[in-house]
Amino acid sequence: MNKLSIGERVFEVFNILFMILLCLVTLYPFYYVLIASFSDPSWIVKQRGLIWLPEGFNLDAYVRVLDNPMILQGYMNTLFVVTVGTLINVFMTALGAYGLSRQNVMWKNPIMFFIVFTMFFSGGLIPNYLLVSELGMLDSLWALIIPGAISAFNLIIMRTAFHGVPISLEESAKLDGANDFTVLFRIILPLSLPVIAVMILFYGVGHWNSWFNALIYLRDRELYPLQLVLREILITNSTDSMMTGTNAADTMPIGETIKYATIVVATVPILVLYPFLQKYFVKGVMIGAIKE
């Protein structure tokens, strides 16, 4: 009885064609950037329309990108913020999630309200900026880490996951004289590795991709994270610094491929890791979607 009607068959064909088109539209921009970055610059600027294969394979653009001290420095700054920032994020979020997932804690609900309220109301850009400046964190990478130490949304995800750990384990550990620190670090966290992976990913990718806080808190160019360097190269258009030693006629084309190579260098880490990590991201969204 599973025969499809003609209408359903036609729909299925169109649906599949639509999905293929959607995938092409999603992937082609990345593909274009990738092959353009490996191509001969003067060939690229002459192209009119879609390209499918690189032409005049060369790595000039990559040599220049990797020679650029700003990009290297940006990478280092971003790595610092991603590792140290994520570590602090996960630690703080775990502390909060543990406390707020325990039973018989009298001030649990008021504290929860205190935290959730900040998801819906905030002081706004300027008071935040003034506070960070007042605390002497301007022009320091800590300004990208401390003010965002906990995301209430992630805290709720983690709390939901902690609720899933059987209470009997905690009770028997407490009978053996374990205190809450032991329970959290020896029992709850080892049993919640998937949610920890989710947290590392959410926070880590957030740090990797963020740029606006760096724009407002950092003046010193030495401290610029990768995304802020990218902004200069891709959007405010300054490949000039990387084009010294090329004659005027070549300048324009290689500027284009430098941009593409920059995008590749900055995006590859995420794209390479992505297929392995996808299921954790999806899991995070699912836990986050469960209401109480």
Partner: protein
């Protein structure tokens, strides 16, 4: 006499209750001392970095000067609000913000719902997984890179103009044309978020009781009727929750994307509350004025969220709280 009796008899009871409350607090503090020790840094963090700025919001009603600080600066009442409401920019940025939100609601909000319904009809399991994996990708790409690609592809000699040129369409520097800004903002937003947005709907769909479909088939309902009468009602509460959340941010479009995308030639349609606050506050150091605008903005968002939640609670039992 009865009154006196009443008061004398009540006083000890109240005392006992107070005592037990104090005792309860004390017992709780003792029993959960490690839990509170853990919560301490968390609460401190929220107090400083979230409630601190809320305390600082008072400078919207003051003439802020760094030397005098949040508390010490002199009060000026609603001066900066009046200045903003009477300014030439008021209508422009409010209109631009609302229009972008409205188009987002009309086009970007339903897109993942429709895509999830279509994905759900794919019967080839492997193909479905592949489509999901691919369409999630743009969500992970930084906004700087995405706008960087937009800038490149939409330039006068960029990819889009080259392709359209083959069909005889005249080249346009899209990101310099105010009338194109909203289209580009919304379209690229859909490209970024449509795949990722399906996750939550696909999860809701997979929670629908399969026996409902079986029963519908027995009753002779075709695929279309099944979608209409089972799948869509099955995800309505998810849709409503996300809609409420969306309502709460109707006055805030993604400032950081617009900051990267706009330029002085497109301010007319691209300048929104967030970008204006950034320019006035951080580039021109009008702290009190921009704080006032920011406060105006968050108050409207907050009220809309509460309103949407109330309306939804009355109409459908679905609520955020």
């Amino acid at each position: 006499m009865p009154a006196l009796e009443k008061s004398t008899s009540q006083a000890p009871i109240k005392e006992i209750r107070d005592k037990t409350l104090m005792q309860r607090i004390w017992r709780d503090a003792k029993m959960n001392r490690y839990v509170y020790l853990m919560l301490l840094p968390v609460v401190l963090y929220y107090a400083v970095f979230h409630y601190g700025p809320m305390y600082g919001v008072q400078i919207a009603f003051k003439d802020y000067s760094a030397a005098l600080g949040f508390a010490g600066s002199p009060w000026v009442g609603f001066k900066y609000f009046e200045e903003f409401f009477n300014s030439f920019f008021f209508w422009r940025i409010v209109r631009n913000t609302l229009l972008l939100s409205l188009y987002e609601l009309l086009f970007a909000f339903p897109a993942p719902i429709i895509l999830a319904l279509l994905m759900n009809e794919i019967r080839q399991h492997f193909f479905k997984r592949a489509v999901q994996t691919i369409t999630y990708i743009p969500h992970f790409i930084s906004i700087v890179v995405i706008v960087g690609m937009l800038v490149d592809f939409l330039a006068r000699d960029g990819l889009i103009n080259n392709i359209l040129g083959m069909f005889g369409v005249e080249a346009v520097a899209y990101l310099r044309e105010p009338e194109w800004f909203r289209t580009i903002y919304i379209t690229s937003g859909i490209w970024q978020g449509v795949g990722w947005g399906t996750i939550i709907y696909l999860a809701a769909i997979s929670n629908i009781d399969p026996s409902l479909y079986e029963a519908a088939k027995v009753d002779g309902a075709n695929k279309w009727r099944q979608v209409l009468h089972i799948t869509i009602p099955g995800i309505t509460s998810t849709i409503i929750i996300l809609l409420i959340l969306q309502m709460g941010s109707i006055m805030s479009v993604s400032t950081d994307k617009i900051l990267l995308m706009y330029n002085s030639s497109t301010y007319e349609t691209a300048d929104v509350i967030g970008t204006y606050v950034y320019r006035k506050g951080l580039l021109e150091s009008n702290y009190s004025y921009s704080t006032a605008i920011g406060l105006f903005n968050s108050l409207i968002n907050f009220s809309l969220l509460i309103l949407a939640n109330r309306v939804s609670r009355r109409m459908s039992e679905t609520k955020l709280w």
